[in-house]
């Protein structure tokens, strides 16, 4: 009797993190085995104890939200998943060492683009994260990454671009042609950690000029 290889039951056990929302995901081969259940544990690197994640014991889905449990920015973590088939075969696989500040990706910013006759104003709304400070308030990306800044581009008829950038939230592209469509693109950059978000894109048309000339 050749022992069936259980390790195939579980693959790609890893954290997927964006804006500090840390989700543990995994896959199994074949895609789904009826009755297969999964249980998740996690630990802080350097600690002995593995802790069972409540709400992710004997589950059938292939993801588990560990945002709260892995929320300390200065700590490193591991998670592991145990898969068990109805027939009792099981395997356990572990993630790589994880730290949310190193690994999280940055989502596009939330921006309001407001046209006038000859300008477009862009207001960037700070992004709240699930990370809490010592006094319990939720931190923004800016509070976590001291060197975070915004890069704004305005594309004019596909060739010509205007650029603005900085740490503030209010920007204005001025001297524009009335009644013309523009494409705005706003991204977040964090140089120290070599992070850059995908851009938020807004398509805006300046207002018609109704003044008598």
């Amino acid at each position: 009797h050749i022992a069936e290889d259980s390790s195939e039951l579980l693959q790609h056990v890893k954290f997927q993190s964006s804006n500090f929302e840390n989700i543990l995901t995994w896959e199994s081969e074949p895609e789904s085995i009826p009755g297969m259940v999964y249980s998740v544990e996690y630990k802080t690197y350097g600690e002995t104890q593995w802790l069972a994640k409540a709400g992710c014991q004997q589950i059938t889905r292939k993801s588990c939200n560990l945002t709260v449990e892995t929320g300390n920015l200065t700590e490193l973590y591991y998670a592991r998943v145990t898969a068990v088939t109805p027939g009792g075969r099981s395997t356990t696989k572990r993630t790589e060492r994880f730290n949310s500040r190193q690994h999280t990706t940055i989502r596009p910013p939330d921006v309001t683009c407001i046209p006038t006759v000859r300008s477009i104003r862009m207001t960037i709304h700070p992004t709240l994260t699930p990370v809490h400070s010592g006094d319990g308030h939720r931190l923004t990306l800016e509070e976590i990454f001291q060197d975070l800044f915004y890069h704004l581009e305005l594309h004019v008829n596909g060739t010509y671009q205007m650029h603005l950038g900085g740490k503030q939230h209010e920007y204005e592209f001025s001297g524009l042609t009335p009644d013309t469509e523009f494409l705005g693109s706003i991204a977040i950059l964090v140089p120290t950690w070599s992070k850059e978000s995908a851009p938020y894109v807004c398509r805006v048309t300046t207002l018609p000029d109704r003044t008598w000339t």
Binding site: E47, E96, N99, T192
Partner: protein, 153 residues
């Protein structure tokens, strides 16, 4: 530039060190299966005063250069990660050469920094040498994160 208390180091780009280490991190950390021991523990790096920081970074970087990098070099060659390793080592060498922990600073700062360093060194010595080298090298991200607190763009 870095500003470790009284010690200033210009000409080093922290993002570049991160980029170099990032290309090696997963490979090296995957070989460290002891998840219950951390060499750069909280007690080594937490709440380090400015006055201590120059002494501590000097001790740590010298240890990394003279013990960890020197003895882990063969493994790095095996793993074909020499370019990134050299970037890291050369920058650590440069930083160390610029650090001049002053002699007339209060004795307590250098003593306290040295006690922190000894915590790290003792934990290192308690492991079998190959295991210790892999773990120490895999913890360079913890070191870079701490160094980031003293970095000004």
């Amino acid at each position: 530039e870095f500003q470790f208390g009284p010690c200033q180091v210009e000409g080093v780009a922290l993002p570049r060190l991160w980029e170099a280490f990032r290309t090696m991190k997963d490979t090296v950390q995957a070989q460290d299966n002891i998840t219950s021991i951390r060499l750069l523990q909280r007690e080594v790096l937490q709440n380090v005063s400015d006055a201590e920081s120059c002494y501590l970074i000097h001790d740590l970087l010298k240890f990394y250069l003279n013990t960890v990098f020197k003895n882990y070099h063969r493994k790095i060659v095996e793993l074909k990660m020499l370019p990134s390793f050299s970037t890291l080592a050369n920058n650590f060498l440069f930083i160390t050469s610029k650090l001049q922990p002053s002699k007339n600073e209060t004795l307590s700062a250098s003593d306290s920094a040295h006690r922190r360093f000894l915590l790290f060194k003792r934990a290192f010595k308690q492991l079998e040498i190959e295991v210790a080298l892999t773990k120490a090298f895999g913890e360079v991200d913890i070191l870079l994160t701490w160094m980031g607190k003293f970095y000004r763009l």
